[in-house]
Each structure stands twice: as C-alpha cells, then as structure tokens.
C-alpha cells in the first residue's frame, strides 16, 4: 500500500535518500538544492540513517569526497545546482572514468552569468558529455522515483557509471504537491545492499583507482567507459520494469503522451512537460492531433527509439531550456534532429529556446508552439528553425520597458 503524502521535490528526494540509507553523503549547499542535504543531515542527526555525512568546504571537495568514498566501496550520494556543479567539473569526468556509480541529484538552475538562481537546464546540458547518466523528472514523484532507480542503474555490473537525477529548481524542488511514497523496507529491498566487484578497502585485492593511464591503455579504458553508457539503456528499462511491478508507475527512456495519431509533437524535458500535457488535453478536446514526447533519459540518448516514436509526425518542435551558443540550435534539438537523419519522410523540425533563468512557461506559450507547428504543416515550410519562445526581442527599442512589463 503506497503512502499518500504531500512534499516538495527536495523533501521527496531527501526522504528517498533516507530510505536508501547510503554509506556516505558529501555535499555543499547551493540554492535551490540546499534543502536536500539540509533535510538529510537532520535524518543523520536524528539517527534515522547511519550515513557518514561529510560537510565539505566546496563542491569540488564534495565530488572529490564522493569519489574517494565510492572508490573505497561505499554507496555515495550528493546534491547540487548550477555553479555548484560547475565547480565539480573536473571531478565529474573523474567519477565517470573511474566507473563510480555515485548518485547526484541535480536541482537544475541557470548557470551564471548573469547571476540567476532560477530554473533552466544550462547546468545539466553543460555536463551532458561528462560521462554521467542523466535522468530528468517532471514532478516531485518522478524525482523521488528516479533517485531510487538511479542507484540500481549506476551500480549494475554492465554499467558502473554515476547517475544524475535532474529535476527543475523551484518549480519541482520547492512546490508542494501530492506524492506516493514507498514503505522504507520496500525501498531498501529494491536497492539492495551495495556489493562492488572491485573497491579500495578490499584487503584481498590490492588495486589502484584513477592512476596515470599511458597511451597503451587509456584509449581502451575510454572505449570501455563508452560501452557502459551504451549498456545503460537496457539496464534502465529492466530497472524500470521491476520498479513498475513494485509501484504500478511505468517509466521508459521517454514518455509518449497522446502520440498515437499525432501530426504535431513537442519534445521537452522536465516540468514543462506537465504544462504541455495540460495544453495537449485542451487541444485534443478540440480535435487537434497533437502529442508530446518527454525525454526522461537524456544520457544515454535514446536516438533510435525517439526516431521511431517521432517518424510519423509531420512537424516537431524541440524545446530547449538552455541555449547552445553554437549559433545553430541548442543541445536537445541538435540530438533529436540528428536522430531523425535516417528516417524516410523526415518530419519538419524546429527548435525553441525557452524558460531561461526562470522565465515562467505559460500554457499560452505552449499553445503558440502547437499553432506555429500547424502553420508549418499547412505551408510545408519551416523557416528559421532556431527560435526563441517568450523572450523580449532585443532589437525592440522599448526593450527596457517591455522587460519591466514582463517582470510585473
């Protein structure tokens, strides 16, 4: 019997961490992720977990401590946001290349500058090729479920990679909503005991983790790391299947919402998918053939599966909550577009950069996207695929006044 509760996303993730009872948590506070280690440290103080909580002096040290602990053989977790993760950068790659299944909740936030504490995906997208598995949750429920599944995914012998549990800062992390929690013992049974094959504190096997790798071996190690990421897709689906048996909640590489006969589709990550579902329902009620694909697993990227799911559409809008700064489209767009390269009768595809630095995403914004797609279907033309949604035009003379009006 599931436990009906109402929690913020951060509280839900902290509760999941309490139920998992990791061996080590090392963290440094940064908005909007601070509550995760804050709640968790109270569980430590109150004796609800027997985790070693390491209060470090920076995020670089937080990830370094996680790497040391996980390499020693401890199940290790942390949480951070934006510039906090930016300071971990060097260590993110080392965690992945050492094949250490650390689980980190990334409460997504705009990366400075300008300084901004609000939500977008520029932090997560910047780390997309650091070798971490990346899961994106839409709601507090998904943030909770994903952090539990992340443990099993990362620790699987065919994967052995760190996992990022990404969910939207403030929108998901701080809003209180309904949630169904699992009983403590069910979570404990699901994640099981951590039994690493190789670890530093094993007296029977003297090994080194992360030493100098000369040209004769480095390439092979990177190839093996890449294979772990490839293997992850299958493991993610297996873990999801087991999780569904436990909870009734179904997870895949992505979620297809009313896609069966959809002619127009939006591809999106995170909380905006919820707002888009609300709009899809309204448009469907008016007989419009619209659908939604919410990417849950961004790393490894489910290219073939997405191509299959989107191939029957006439026009697609890929929504990016970060800009790419390559002058030619943002990360999710470029990857989805590339995934469609081998599809016959390619759908028209456009990109919207949206919601940067916490700009609220209204249902009317999503309506505009579907209406733009309708025009593309009608005219057969998708001019200027690299677009912005909800931004005040910088060429407008009244930019300051309009920006002020938007803030109202």
């Amino acid at each position: 019997m599931a436990i009906r509760d109402k929690l913020s996303g951060n509280e839900a993730v902290a509760v999941a961490m309490r139920q998992i009872n990791p061996d080590v948590v090392a963290a440094f506070p940064i908005t909007p992720s601070t509550e995760v280690p804050q709640y968790f440290s109270s569980f430590v103080s109150n004796g609800l977990v027997d985790t070693e909580f390491v209060a470090v002096e920076s995020e670089h040290s937080a990830m370094s401590a996680c790497i040391g602990a996980q390499a020693a053989g401890a199940r290790t977790m942390t949480a951070t946001s934006a510039n906090g993760m930016a300071l971990m950068w060097e260590m993110l790659y080392i965690a992945a290349s050492c094949r250490l299944p650390i689980v980190m909740s990334l409460v997504t936030r705009a990366l400075s500058g300008p300084i901004n504490i609000h939500n977008d995906h520029s932090d997560a997208m910047g780390a997309r090729d650091s070798g971490w598995i990346q899961l994106f949750g839409e709601s507090n429920q998904e943030a909770y479920d994903n952090v539990i599944m992340a443990v099993r995914i990362g620790e699987h012998k065919d994967v052995q990679l760190p996992v990022m549990n990404c969910y939207d800062g403030f929108i998901t992390s701080h809003a209180v909503e309904n949630i169904e929690l699992l009983e403590d013992e069910k979570v404990k049974a699901f994640v099981g005991e951590y039994k690493p094959q190789h670890y530093l504190l094993n007296k029977d096997e003297a090994i080194a983790i992360g030493p100098l790798d000369i040209p004769s071996y480095y390439f092979e190690h990177k190839r093996s790391q890449a294979q772990g990421m490839r293997n992850a897709k299958k493991v993610i689906l297996e873990v999801a299947e087991e999780f569904e048996k436990l909870t009734g909640r179904k997870y895949g590489l992505f979620e297809e919402y009313k896609m069966d006969d959809a002619e127009r589709a939006i591809v999106v990550l995170g909380s905006t998918a919820g707002t888009a579902k609300f709009v899809v329902d309204q448009l469907r009620a008016q007989g419009e053939k619209v659908g939604l694909v919410k990417i849950r697993v961004f790393r490894p990227f489910p290219a073939e599966e997405l191509a299959e799911a989107l191939s029957h559409c006439k026009a697609i809008a890929v929504m990016d909550k970060s800009d790419g700064f390559n002058g030619k489209g943002a990360p999710v767009f470029n990857e989805v577009r590339s995934a469609l390269y081998d599809v016959e009768n390619k759908p028209a595809i456009i990109n919207y950069i949206y919601g940067l630095g916490g700009r609220d995403v209204r249902s009317t914004d999503i309506e505009k996207v579907y209406s733009d797609l309708a025009q593309i279907v009608q005219t057969g033309k998708a001019e200027d695929p690299y677009r912005y949604l909800g931004v005040v035009d910088a060429n407008d003379i009244d930019v300051a006044a309009e920006a002020a009006a938007t803030r109202e």
Binding site: P32, V176, E177, N178
Partner: protein
C-alpha cells in the same frame, strides 16, 4: 480540469503568505484533493511584495506555470492594492479577499473596476487580539477557505489543529490562539 480552483496570494516578505499557501495545500490534501502550493521566488527580503499560489483539484494536476487567471486572490497586505495589479486576470465569477479595516464597498474603489465579489477581513485586529502580535496569514487562511468554499468548517478546523500541533510542537501555547484567529476570521469575513 474544470473543477480546478486556483488561488493567488499577494503579501509582503515576512507576513507568511508562503506559509499560508502551504497550510492551505495541506488542508486541501487532507480532504483527499490533489494540491499545489508554491511561492514565486524572487529577491526575498522583509517587506518586499511576494506572490504565492495554490491549485486544488479532484484530478491530478500537471500544469506547472504560475497562475494568471485565478479564481480567488488573497491580499495579505492592504498597501499592495496601490502598488500591485492585484486583480490582474482575476475571474469575475471569482472573488478577492483583502486584509483591511475598511468596508468592502470602500476598498472596491481601489480595484480598477473589478466586477466580481469583494471580501474584507480585519486580520490585523484579529491577530493582535488573539496572538498579541501581527501574523495576518492565519486569519487570512481561515477567511479564504470560507470564501472559496473549498471545505466545510469542521474539516478545515480539524486539519488546522493538526497542522498547528505539528508546526508549533516546540511552542504549544500558541496553538489555541492560532485556532481562535482562524475561527474568528471564518465568522467575521464581510462581502460586497
């Protein structure tokens, strides 16, 4: 989702609008509803205008934007009526509830021709009389639950009592005064 009720709170930092929105979410949750309670985070500081939101529905809520066309607006600080467009997007079938000693007729003059119902409650007087200090959020919470008809008085009061016992576990002497504030607000809210 025609049964979804959306509420927007206007307050000033330190007056507890955020807490009130979370308490309302909790109370509605206790009646079996789906809820959302969230503030709009900004440069938070004492006295600055802040906004918080509630959604309450019989069905799962997926929308995650702020609220632009609320059914109800709660103004925790009367002075905000002059500086914030408090009735922006407010449905005319809905209502606005304002913390003021003025009558609903009098305060309506400041509401830019808003056609819907206007309710007032003197949360300052109630708060000072029951709590001895100015915490307007508790009376405002009692008043808005009555005005919106979200739940029956008994159900609401039971939920509040439970919340206060939890929230004020370390200072139980303030539980009863807070209950008094909620009950008085329930009976004293005025409409026009």
């Amino acid at each position: 989702m025609s049964n979804m009720v959306e509420i927007r709170w206007h307050g000033r930092g330190g007056q507890g609008a955020k807490t009130a929105s979370l308490l309302l979410a909790e109370a509605a949750f206790d009646t079996g509803k789906y809820v959302q309670g969230f503030p709009e985070y900004g440069p938070e500081r004492m006295g600055a205008p802040i906004t918080a939101y509630n959604r309450v529905s019989d069905e799962k809520i997926t929308i995650h934007s702020n609220i632009y066309e609320p059914d109800y607006v709660v103004v925790v600080d009367e002075t905000l009526v002059d500086v914030v467009d408090v009735t922006a997007g407010l449905k005319k079938e809905g209502a606005i509830l304002i913390n003021t000693s003025k009558s609903p007729e009098e305060i309506r003059k400041k509401l830019k021709g808003y056609q819907g119902k206007v309710y007032t409650i003197d949360a300052r007087e109630i708060s000072m009389a029951t709590l001895g200090r100015y915490f307007p959020n508790t009376p405002m919470l009692g008043a808005v639950v009555k005005v919106s008809g979200l739940m029956e008085e008994d159900t609401f009061l039971k939920s509040m009592e439970k919340s206060f016992h939890h929230k004020f576990a370390s200072k139980p002497h303030v539980i009863e005064p807070n209950m008094q504030a909620v009950k008085r607000a329930w009976t004293e809210v005025k409409s026009a």
